[in-house]
Symmetry: C2
Subunit: 433 residues, 2 copies
C-alpha cells in the first residue's frame, strides 16, 4: 500500500492552497529551528520527557486515531503484514513513550567540541557540532517512525517536517500532537515538529523544492520512494537505499558460529535492511559447512537459490540467476554462492552488494582484517550477525535509518548524525598578512 492509494483523502486541498500551506509550514519550521538551535540541553531533554508523558496521557486519542486508520486501511484491503505494521495497541503506545524517554536520555549531540587547536598566529580554532536546521522526513506506514524521527530530530536541536504514509495519517497526527505538547511544556515552540496536513502526493514534490525552508531531506521507505526523492530533490538527501547484505563463511570459520550467525543473519527478521540476502562460502569448506547451514535454514522455511557448486552439494537448492546476486529479497529467501576464499568474497560483495552491511565468519585474524578493510560497506562485521546493523544495537538510541551514501552521515543515522558543525575562531586582533 503506497501513498498513491488514497487519493480522495478527506484532507485534500487545492493546489494553490496546498502550496500556501506548505510554505507556512516551512516558515514556522525555520523559526522553530532557530529557537531549538539555541535551546539548552536540559530544555530539549525536558521536552522529550514531557512528550513521552503526553503520549501516555493521550493514549486513548492515539488508539482511536489508529482505529480510524485501520478501518480505512481495511476498506482498501490492506495485507496482513502491512496491517500489523500499522496497528497500535496499549503496549505499542507504551513502547513509543519509552522510545522518546530513551532519546531524552541520550547525551546532547549539539555543542560537542569535535576538534580544537591553535594556530601559530594565536588564533584558537574549534570545530563544534551544531544542528542541521530543518529536516524533512518522508516515510511510509509505521506510526512509530513519527515519534522516533521527530524525537531524534528534536534531540539534535532541529525542527522536523514529517510527511508520513497516508495509511497512518490519523495515528501520526495524534502522535505529533503529543510531541508538540511536550515541546510547549518545556517552553519550546510546538511547531518544531509539524506533520504535513494532507495525504496528497503533491505535498512530497513541494517539500523537495522547499530549499529555502528545509535543509536536509531524509526519505525512509521503499526503493521507489528513495529513488523519486533522489531524482527530484533540490535539497540534500540522506538516503538509505537497499541492504543487499552478505555473510561469508571463511575456511577458518568456527562451524558452530557459522551456523548460528547465518541462521540469525537471514531468519531473525527477514524484512529488515540488515538481513543477509546472500551467503558466500569458501570453496575449501563448502562441503563441510553447507549441509548443516542449509538444513537449519530450510527447517525455518527459507527458500534457497544457489550456484552450480552449491547445488552439487545440495541438489534441492534452486538455481540462482545473475539477478539473484543483485536482489534484496526482504523475504525468507537466500542466495548461496561458493567463492574462492576471502578474495572471491570481497570481489563478489564489492561488485554485487549495496555497500550496506557485510559479515565474515572466521577465526583467522589476518583474514578478518583484510575483509574489514577491503569490503567497501557502511558496516563490516566479523563473527557477528548482519542483523546488528541498527542504531539501537550500536548504542545510538533510536535511528532514523541506515545511510548507504558515501558522504557522511554513512551507516546508522541517530541524533548525533543529525548534526553538522561550524568553526569557531577566537583571535585578539589578528589580520592576515
Amino acid at each position: 500500500m503506497t501513498t498513491d492509494t488514497l487519493p480522495h483523502s478527506p484532507t485534500s486541498l487545492s493546489e494553490p492552497d496546498l502550496a500556501a500551506e506548505m510554505s507556512g509550514i516551512g516558515r514556522r519550521a525555520r523559526e522553530a529551528a532557530a529557537a531549538l538551535a539555541l535551546a539548552s540541553a536540559d530544555a530539549k531533554t525536558a521536552a522529550l520527557a514531557a512528550a513521552a508523558a503526553a503520549v501516555r496521557v493521550r493514549s486513548p486519542q492515539i488508539l482511536a486515531a489508529n482505529a480510524r486508520d485501520l478501518a480505512e486501511a481495511d476498506r482498501q484491503g490492506i495485507s496482513a503484514a502491512l496491517r500489523d505494521r500499522l496497528a497500535l495497541d496499549a503496549g505499542r503506545v507504551e513502547a513509543i513513550a519509552r522510545g522518546l524517554e530513551a532519546i531524552a536520555a541520550l547525551p546532547d549531540p549539539a555543542g560537542r567540541i569535535l576538534a580544537a587547536w591553535a594556530q601559530p598566529n594565536g588564533l584558537a580554532i574549534q570545530r563544534i557540532a551544531v544542528p542541521l536546521g530543518v529536516i524533512g522526513i518522508i516515510y511510509e506506514s509505521r506510526p512509530n517512525v513519527t515519534a522516533d524521527a521527530g524525537g531524534l530530530a528534536l534531540k539534535a536541536g532541529n525542527a522536523a517536517i514529517l510527511r508520513g504514509g497516508s495509511e497512518s495519517y490519523h495515528s501520526s497526527h495524534a502522535l505529533v500532537a503529543a510531541l508538540s505538547d511536550g515541546l510547549r511544556s518545556a517552553g519550546l515552540p510546538g511547531t518544531a515538529v509539524q506533520l504535513v496536513p494532507t495525504r496528497e502526493r503533491a505535498a512530497v514534490g513541494l517539500m523537495l523544492a522547499m530549499d529555502e525552508h528545509i535543509d536536509v531531506i531524509v526519505p525512509r521507505g521503499g526503493r521507489s520512494l528513495i529513488e523519486r526523492v533522489q531524482r527530484e530533490s533540490r535539497i540534500p538527501v540522506i538516503a538509505h537505499l537497499e541492504g543487499i547484505c552478505h555473510t561469508y563463511i571463511d575456511a577458518a570459520a568456527d562451524p558452530a558460529k557459522a551456523r548460528a550467525i547465518t541462521l540469525n543473519a537471514k531468519m531473525r527478521r527477514v524484512s529488515i535492511c540488515g538481513a543477509t540476502e546472500t551467503l558466500l562460502v569458501d570453496r575449501q569448506v563448502a562441503d563441510d559447512h553447507l549441509p548443516a547451514i542449509l538444513a537449519d535454514l530450510r527447517a525455518k522455511g527459507c527458500e534457497l537459490r544457489g550456484d552450480v557448486e552449491t547445488r552439487a552439494i545440495d541438489p534441492a537448492v534452486l538455481a540462482a540467476t545473475e539477478e539473484d546476486w543483485r536482489t534484496e529479497y526482504l523475504d525468507a529467501i537466500l542466495s548461496v554462492r561458493v567463492v574462492d576464499g576471502v578474495d572471491g568474497a570481497i570481489a563478489h560483495i564489492n561488485h554485487y552488494g549495496s555497500h550496506h552491511t557485510d559479515a565474515i565468519v572466521t577465526e583467522d585474524q589476518r583474514t578478518a582484517e583484510r575483509f574489514l578493510r577491503e569490503v567497501d560497506s557502511a558496516i563490516v562485521l566479523v563473527n557477528a550477525s548482519t542483523q546488528f546493523a541498527d542504531g539501537g544495537e550500536f548504542g545510538m538510541g533510536a535511528e532514523i535509518g541506515i545511510s548507504t551514501q558515501r558522504l557522511p552521515p554513512r551507516g546508522p543515522v541517530g541524533a548525533e548524525q543529525l548534526t553538522t558543525y561550524k568553526y569557531v575562531v577566537r583571535g585578539s586582533g589578528q589580520v592576515r598578512p
Copy 2:
C-alpha cells in the same frame, strides 16, 4: 572568460566518442580508487613527494604548455586579471611543487579511528575514516588548482577526475602528467589522477551523470558553474557558493583592532570568498568608529555604499540598495550598515548572508559568545579578519574550497574532509536476540 568561449578546441570529439572516452576514464578511476584506498600512508606520501619532484623536472614542459594556453587566451582577448590567474612562471611552478610537498607532509586522513566503543554484548565497534572513492572536480581557470585538488584527493586515498577550465587546458595537462609520474614511481596507478581530455562543455554534463563511476562532485568556480552542477548532478555535490561575509563592529570593540581588521578583511584581497562584503556597526559607536574606518578604506581605493545613517556620518558614501546586502562584490566595494547592537548584527547576517564566514570585533566576552553561537555560518570569528577563511590558514594544508552547505563537509575542505567513514564491528559469535 568561461569554458564556453573556446568551442572549437583542437581536442574536440564527436558525442559518442566523448561518451566512450568519459566512460573509460570513469572505469579507470574506479579501479585506481580501489588501489588507492588500500595504499599505505607511506606510498601516498611517496607519490606526492615524487609528484613534486616531477613538477620540477617537467618545469620546462609545464611552462611551454602554459605559454600555449596564454597565446590562445590572448587571441581570445582575455582580461588582465584573468591572464594573471592563468600565467605560470618559474616561481609559480616551484610554489606548485612546494604545495604538493606540503600535502605530502600532512598526516594521513584515512584510517583514523574516529570513535571506538564496546556494547554490553561484547561487540567492539569502531568508526574509521576511509576515502570517499572517486572525486570529480570541476573548476575554472587557475592551473595550480589542478595540482592542489589532485594532490588533496590522493592524500585522502581517492582517485580524481579533473575537469579544469578550457583556458588552462595545456597547463593542466602538463601538471597531471607530473602527478601521474609521481604515482607510478611510488607503485600506485598513474590513472588515480586523470584530466578530462577535452574542452567540450558536454563533458561536464557527462561527468554529472556518471554516478556509477564518480562518488562526489566538487565544483570550484563562479556562481553559474556551481548552480549548474547543483541543478544537473545525479551525484552528491560538495558545493561552495558565495561568500557574503560580514564584519561587525560592536559597541565594545577596540578601535585599533576594528580599523585594522576591517581594512584587512575587505582590502587584503578583494577577490577571495572570505573577503568582507558588508560592514555592520553598532549604532552606539558608529560616530566614533566609522570616520577612521571609512577613511582607511577610501585611501585604499574602496568604493563605499551605505545606509541612511552611514551617509549621515559620511555624506560621500553612496546610497546602498537592498540588493547591496545580498551581493558578493569580489571587488573593492563595501556596503556599510548601522545596526542595533549584536542582535541587529546577528539578524542581518542570518538574513542576508551566505552562511560562509562572519566576524565580530568586541572586547565583551559575553557579546562575542552570543555572536559565535547565534550566527549560523560555517566559520565565525571574534577579533580576527574574515580573510582567515582558508584551509591553509586553518592548518589543513591546502584546500579545495570552502563548503557553504550544511551537511558535512562544511567550511574549508582539505584532505581530511575528502574522507568518509565506515563502521567496523568485531564479535565473537554474537547473534541478535
